[in-house]
């Protein structure tokens, strides 16, 4: 299938994945926004409140918080409720460390704004080594 939209120029790590997107205009932090027991966004002020991360490509403008993300992504993955991939405009070291430890794909630094182009529930392919995201509509 040919992609409808291609975003490029990013820096990423992890394996290629494809799945539905959860798109936020808020920042995301594990301790600040997530119930780690369920993998569901539990901060009522977050625009993804009530959404589960499991099996989704999480697209956010910026990361929040610290140590929690470096550990929790791996724990979520071990329990089968982790996101498929995380895409930020700009990632923080903590989220990169957490994705690396969890072996979850992560990308940032795309030429175009992923939060402005990718839509909720878009079907997307994330290719971290190529720094590319393809959207199939």
């Amino acid at each position: 299938m040919n992609p409808s939209v291609v975003l490029s120029g990013g820096r990423g790590l992890g394996e290629d994945v494809r799945g539905p997107c959860l798109v936020s205009q808020h920042g995301f932090g594990v301790r600040y926004d997530l119930d780690p027991a369920t993998g569901v966004i539990s901060n009522q002020e977050h625009d993804l409140y009530g959404h589960a991360l499991s099996g989704k490509i999480l697209v956010c403008p910026y990361p929040k918080g610290g140590v929690a993300a470096s550990w929790c992504l791996a724990d979520l993955k071990g329990r089968g409720i982790a996101p498929l991939a995380i895409v930020f405009r700009r990632a923080s070291p903590i989220f990169v460390q957490g994705a690396l430890f969890a072996d979850i794909a992560i990308m940032h630094g795309l030429k175009d704004d992923p939060c402005g182009i990718i839509r909720m529930d878009d079907d997307a392919g994330v290719f971290p080594r190529d720094g590319r995201i393809e959207i199939y509509r």
């Binding site: 901060n43 140590v67 929690a68 791996a74 070291p93």
Partner: protein
Amino acid sequence: MELTEQQSRWLAGEAGASIQWAMTFNEALGHFFDAPRMVPVSSAHFAPDTRMAGMAGKDLLQRLVDDNARVVVPSYLDPCTVDFGRAAELIASYGLTEEFVQQDRAVFRHCRELGFLPTYSCINYQTVTPPRFGEHLAWGDTGTAISANSIFGARTNFEGGPSALASALTGFTPAYGMHLAENRSANLVVKIDCNPREIADWGAIAAWAGQIATGYDTVPVFYGNFSSPTLNMLKQLGVALASYGGHAMFHVVGATPEAPSLEVACGGRIPADEHVCTETEMEAVFDRSQLDQEAVDLVVFAAPQLSIDEVAEIVDRMDGRRVHSGTKLIMAVDPQVRAQADNAGISHTLAALGAELSTGTCFYQEAPLMREKTGWRTVVTNSAKLVNALASAGYSSAFRRLGTCLDAATTGRLRS
């Protein structure tokens, strides 16, 4: 990334599985951030965070212990989730499970077996060993790291659990981010056009400034005509900037070591745009957090842990008033400050007033585990970070100055 001959051998597994894991992890991290090389670190600060790490963290520590791995630099521990001196009470009355307490105990036992020092502190720069200007560190806990960078001029990135552990085992960290001089200059100028008088005011300024420009690449500088902040105020400023803005470094002109002037703090290039924090912006941060009921379940002083002078100030300001029977007053301290408080008779005074010292913890990690059993819903605090950290845990929080917090603790009501 250029590696030394020794680092290459470690990466190839010649020093065993644990060192190979540590080198592989930090080499991949350095590659992502285009680090040109690794730098030696003077110390590491590690946050095991049992609740967030779950089995993934416990299994990693177990693997390293089984391999007889040892830290090679002085390595400090962040707070636990359980105040082990009160474990029975926490299980019986606060809702922690026996299983979780045992898991936390096992995690910290493994840390000790690896050679970590039992500091259980997020203010180790204040109560254990302050870092030296210019030295490279691998410190976790964002509040600890931003304080090391900003207040002391040391150099560390935010090191989460695995990367701090990897650096503690090898003594090296990849040189990117805050290790490089070019990333430490201010690029967000904030003029303080108000008069911050206590730590909550600095937390409010940080909560406001942190949301102007979020991101690890943002380095704010604060300047203006205000009273020079104390170490405790700078500590609060940093913790809240890390929490609200994701910042790893800040400057305060005339108060932090890399900011003798605005121009120097900005690396010689002062940005054209300037943001101004007046009383209006500062007060708005307090006003926007409101409880959904008047009754106060908890007043908490934590995030970060308190220094001994902060504990002493609270006792002084209590002025003999007892904590209200329907409210708990909890103060988070590390074991170093607890010992100082015990020696000074302050712990005894606090107990007589009905206040609780939580030792070796920082409250927000265990707070989500306690809410159901205790029925706690409302929290009043002078920590801007704590309000942020409790948002996902089902608490209704109000951020207030110390005097209002103590009035709430002793009357059981928040009236402003």
